[in-house]
């Protein structure tokens, strides 16, 4: 039985992984911030579980660290998932959580005398605005970043890669994590859910969109969006943590080889909400920032919509052929119906004035006029 030390255990990925490990009978130590302590105790209950109060950004990551030397001598595997996942975060807070936090944990890992492996959960966002196929072995290729989350995750991955550690270093880069592949339940509103949420809000303003045949949207034709269901990613991370590869440094992309394009996703989303309109791409200009704001989406999403990167997962397939990450086409029905249930149910209870009808009307009208002219 192995001893795990896990950060980010209260997140949607974390809680699944902790449960998988506990069910397999391993000892699990969690590092949680004092304010999340009660969340953690509610989520898990097992005699094999130990929860430590602490903060990764403090010089000593564990508070009241009297028993720390026993802990550091026992840990076999560290899984680092804690991160500030907020596309709108400012530079300082993103750096503090994602870079300082990772550095603090790396320092802690240096003290762990029996550490076998350190699994660091990164993200495919480290590809930034890279164009072409982004391989698992790649990291530094002169890319720029649209948001501080991606930038600080990139910096942290650089830090992790160059850190001297007497244990296997494994970097896992999941795609954009969405809800469960079977239940389709929405657990966290981010990425594609922002868009679905926006659609749900204008569901009953259908008449506006019915007059249009085409709708220009900010995206790039052919841009891929590697969505991955949370359950399959959790299983993959747990699998790799339990059975690390035979090399001291490994990087894997946790995503399927068949990913949706942004166009497919948008089109499918419109269909799900019974809009018959067809989406056509808008060029990548500054106007899009304004447009996103009008629609009610974070403009930091634009990076995904205009992404020119595709992601290879050949290393993962080579080393772990048994890990199955379902493709978009396998989970899209559950995913979309889950979103419909979630947002429409929520909408009934929500107040009506959330949605700024007149603004959307203006945008739609303008778009219709513009498009009408072009079509002629």
């Amino acid at each position: 039985m192995m001893k795990f030390f896990i950060t980010g255990s209260t997140g949607i990925l974390g809680k699944r992984i902790v449960n998988i490990l506990l069910e397999a009978g391993h000892d699990v130590h969690l590092l949680v911030r004092p304010e999340s302590y009660s969340v953690a105790t509610n989520l898990f209950s097992s005699p094999k579980l130990k929860i430590w109060n602490g903060d990764l950004t403090n010089p000593d990551i564990i508070l009241n660290n009297e028993h720390i030397s026993k802990l550091t001598s026992e840990i076999d595997v560290i899984i680092h998932m804690a991160a500030l996942y907020d596309l709108r975060a400012d530079r300082s807070s993103a750096y503090l959580s994602n870079v300082v936090g990772t550095q603090g944990l790396l320092y802690f890992a240096n003290q762990c005398t029996n550490l076998k492996s350190f699994v660091y959960v990164s993200t495919i966002a480290v590809a930034g605005d890279y164009q072409g196929e982004f391989k698992e072995s790649q990291l530094e290729c002169g890319q720029n970043f649209e948001n501080n989350y991606a930038l600080t995750k990139y910096e942290a991955e650089l830090l992790f890669s160059s850190w001297k550690l007497n244990a296997k270093k494994i970097i896992l880069r999941p795609g954009i994590v969405i809800g469960d592949s079977k239940e389709g339940k929405v657990e966290r509103i981010d990425g594609p859910y922002y868009f679905l949420q926006a659609l749900a809000k204008i569901k009953d303003k259908k008449f506006l969109l019915e007059t249009l045949k085409y709708l220009p949207m900010p995206f790039k034709r052919g841009a891929q969006i590697p969505l991955v269901p949370v359950d399959s990613v959790a299983k993959a991370i747990a699998k790799i943590a339990l059975d690390p590869p035979d090399k001291m440094f490994a990087r894997y992309h946790l995503l399927s080889s068949a990913n949706a394009t942004v166009q497919e996703l948008l089109q499918d989303s419109f269909r799900t909400f019974d809009f018959k309109v067809e989406v056509i791409p808008l060029p990548d200009t500054k106007v899009n920032d304004l447009l996103m704001e009008k629609i009610g989406l974070p403009k930091e999403l634009l990076g995904y919509l205009y992404s020119e990167a595709t992601f290879s997962n050949s290393e993962l397939i080579k080393d772990y052929p048994e890990i199955m990450i379902p493709s978009y086409y396998q989970f899209k029905n559950n995913f979309l119906s889950g979103a419909v249930n979630h947002f429409l149910k929520k909408r009934i209870t929500a107040k009506k004035n959330i949605f700024k009808t007149d603004k959307v009307r203006k945008v739609a009208k303008a778009a219709a006029q513009l498009l009408g002219r072009e079509m002629q």
């Binding site: 010089p59 530079r91 300082s92 750096y95 870079v99 550095q103 603090g104 320092y107 910096e155």
Partner: protein
């Protein structure tokens, strides 16, 4: 364990080597050092200070713009003073005290040790504001200063030329500078715009005249944070002086073709690259000192840790670029007629010579010829020598006003620089005019050397060879089992000879008129060679009959230095003094004693000299060889100046000569080279053993 948090403002977090968190053993104490790079983000720096305030022992801030003092006032960027005030509990240090005291000291020490490496060079400062302390030092070295502050901070197209101008500039510009935000891309990038633009009706030129002027310098002074953010193309083949540098940056500089880098702060710990703020933090922790450190404490630490700057020779100068010049003058007026273009005047030599002497002395001197094909045996570098002639005969040289001679010598140096020479050697009497090269070197655009170090070394080589040829003394374990005497030992050449010979001979007799100076010299010799046996005397006659080698260096000008009758048969007298100590009449008294004057040398490689130096074949003067050696080594510095020579320098040039293959070629007597027959004759006289009869 003490915990030091270090925030590097100028490093980008993408430079992950600079971001670390380690337990490090410094001078016997283990500390934890966490360093974070904030990439010129002042907001992030502030937030990190707030984060670590109260839960670390000290916070070290590096890479922030320093405070600049001018005209009794201080300029501190308001953004910076805010940052330092943020921490309420933990002490924040920025290393400025350490930097301000250590760096000028280190550069000065380096300059003193390496005799005028920087002196009188053109030195460019990216920002006098950031390197203010060094600016003052370089002004002391008499350098031509060029400060790019107006361009650096405000992108104005002019440079400043002195610290006075700099102070005026700062006092005028400080209100404006205070409003500039501290952030990426704010400062100039020192990139030369390749595109030429039309300027009025007069033609084309580049826009950035100030940069062109700035780039002309030989030496550039800057700090790591500045240099990281600017274009480095202009540093190709130049020397850079930088406060700190890590391995990665040195590699980058190497790729840019930088010739030499002098890093102020040496490597403190193999695992991390240390900067001044971090070092101040470490010192404060280690010695529990109050911060900011006091100047006296800083000096103690510097002394205790033996800190000194480090020089990296990144790129050797390409061989084509290593030329030297050498200035000679005719030893007699007859020599004028050896110039190829004056050959036709030879038949009238006798009648013309005295008037020629006067007329030629009016001229500025001229290019005489060159030496080609000198090739180092060590690194294969080929150097070329240009020989200039100053048309003064020795008589004229001694009569003239030194300042007029200096002027002409400097003129020749300037001309030599134009055709690519990087160092000038002073030949024959030109090096004994006035203060022996010191003034000339101050005014010359390129370094100047008298070549006396190698002259001294080669004379000692020659003396050794002469002693061997005479075969009067046994050699055991590399030490001559006999006695050597140095007359005039307390003079500079005498002292150097005594020090060197003390390691080669069983006993050394040092002779000089003042006994107290002899005692001093004895203790100096014993410091170098503790096993040496040193005998003192104020009068040579006591030990003279027992010495196999006598070196005389007194230049007593007619006063009898030694009694020839006392000299041991078969001994070698090496007469280093000019004019000679041993007169011709004295020499004739003793045909069984070998009297030599100096050693001349041969340069390595298939050398070809297209002028007549009054020496045979490829033999050259030792002082010329010193100039050539310095070029082969790439050490373009004023190696030997003034009448005093230095023991260390003689040893150093001796090693360089061995390294590059400069060899002794001839033993020179009073009248040209000594032949094998002369040695044989002298030896046979000595071996006869009968009391020598003076030859009349």
């Amino acid at each position: 364990m003490k915990h030091i948090v270090s925030l590097s403002f100028s490093d980008d977090p993408k430079n992950s080597e600079q971001q670390f968190d380690r337990q490090i053993n410094f001078f016997g104490e283990t500390m934890r050092v966490s360093q974070f790079c904030t990439g010129l983000d002042i907001e992030l720096t502030k937030n990190l200070i707030k984060k670590f305030d109260g839960n670390s022992d000290i916070i070290c801030l590096s890479g922030l713009p320093p405070k600049v003092s001018y005209k009794g006032e201080e300029f501190v960027h308001p953004g910076v003073s805010d940052v330092k005030k943020l921490a309420k509990q933990t002490v924040v240090v920025d290393g400025q005290v350490l930097r301000e005291i250590y760096l000028p000291w280190a550069i000065r020490q380096h300059e003193l040790r390496n005799q005028s490496l920087f002196a009188r060079k053109k030195v460019s400062f990216y920002s006098g504001g950031i390197s203010k302390n060094l600016l003052e030092i370089f002004e002391e070295f008499d350098c031509k200063i060029c400060l790019a502050d107006p361009y650096f901070f405000l992108k104005l197209p002019f440079n400043l030329k002195s610290s006075q101008e700099f102070e005026n500039f700062i006092s005028i510009a400080s209100p404006l500078l205070k409003r500039l935000p501290v952030k990426k891309g704010q400062l100039a990038d020192f990139k030369l715009n390749e595109k030429k633009i039309k300027i009025g009706p007069f033609g084309v030129g580049r826009y950035q005249r100030n940069l062109e002027e700035f780039f002309e310098s030989d030496i550039f002074v800057g700090d790591l944070s500045t240099l990281r953010s600017i274009d480095l193309d202009h540093l190709k083949g130049k020397t850079l002086i930088i406060d700190i540098a890590d391995e990665q940056f040195l590699n980058e500089l190497k790729n840019y073709g930088v010739e030499k880098v002098l890093v102020g702060l040496p490597e403190i710990h193999p695992d991390i690259s240390c900067h001044f703020a971090l070092l101040e933090g470490i010192l404060a922790m280690k010695y529990d000192a109050e911060v900011p450190l006091r100047p006296s404490e800083v000096l103690n630490f510097v002394d205790e840790l033996n800190l000194k700057p480090k020089v990296y020779n990144l790129n050797e100068t390409p061989s084509g670029n290593r030329a030297f010049a050498f200035i000679v003058h005719p030893l007699t007026s007859a020599q004028f007629f050896r110039h190829p273009k004056l050959k036709w005047l030879r038949p009238f030599k006798k009648n013309l010579s005295s008037s020629f002497e006067d007329v030629m002395a009016l001229g500025p001197g001229f290019y005489w010829g060159n030496i080609k094909g000198i090739k180092s045996e060590f690194n294969g570098v080929e150097v070329e020598g240009h020989i200039y002639m100053l048309a003064y005969t020795p008589k004229k040289l001694m009569e003239s006003d030194p300042s007029s001679v200096y002027k002409k010598l400097v003129g020749l140096c300037t001309e030599a620089k134009l055709i690519g020479a990087k160092i000038v050697g002073l030949g024959a009497y030109t090096k004994i005019v006035g203060d022996a090269g010191v003034t000339v070197s101050k005014m010359s655009p390129i370094p100047v050397t008298t070549g006396n170090s190698l002259s001294a070394a080669s004379t000692l080589w020659a003396a050794k060879l002469a002693v061997e040829k005479m075969g009067m003394v046994a050699l055991k374990n590399g030490i001559y089992q006999g006695r050597v005497m140095v007359i005039g030992a307390t003079g500079s050449i005498g002292a150097v000879s005594a020090k060197i010979l003390s390691g080669l001979w069983k006993e050394v007799v040092i002779v000089a008129p003042r006994a107290h100076r002899l005692l001093e010299l004895k203790s100096e010799i014993l410091k170098i060679n503790p096993k040496a046996k040193v005998l003192l005397s104020t009068d040579p006659s006591k030990y003279l009959p027992t010495c196999q080698l006598v070196i005389t260096t007194t230049s007593a000008k007619g006063v009898k230095v030694l009694n020839m009758a006392d000299v041991r048969p078969g001994a070698v007298i090496c007469d280093v003094a000019r004019p000679f100590d041993i007169s011709e009449a004295e020499a004739r008294q003793r045909p069984d004693v070998l009297i030599m004057a100096s050693g001349e040398v041969e340069l390595p490689g298939p050398t070809k000299i297209n002028v007549d130096l009054a020496l045979e074949g490829n033999v050259v003067y030792a002082c010329l060889a010193e100039t050539a050696l310095l070029s082969m080594e790439g050490r373009f510095e004023s190696f030997t100046l003034s009448r005093n020579i230095n023991y260390q320098k003689v040893l150093e040039i001796d090693q360089l000569a061995k390294k590059h293959g400069v060899k002794l070629s001839q033993i020179m007597g009073h009248h040209g080279p000594l032949t094998e027959e002369e040695f044989e004759l002298c030896r046979s006289h000595a071996l006869k053993g009968d009391t020598p009869q003076p030859i009349h």
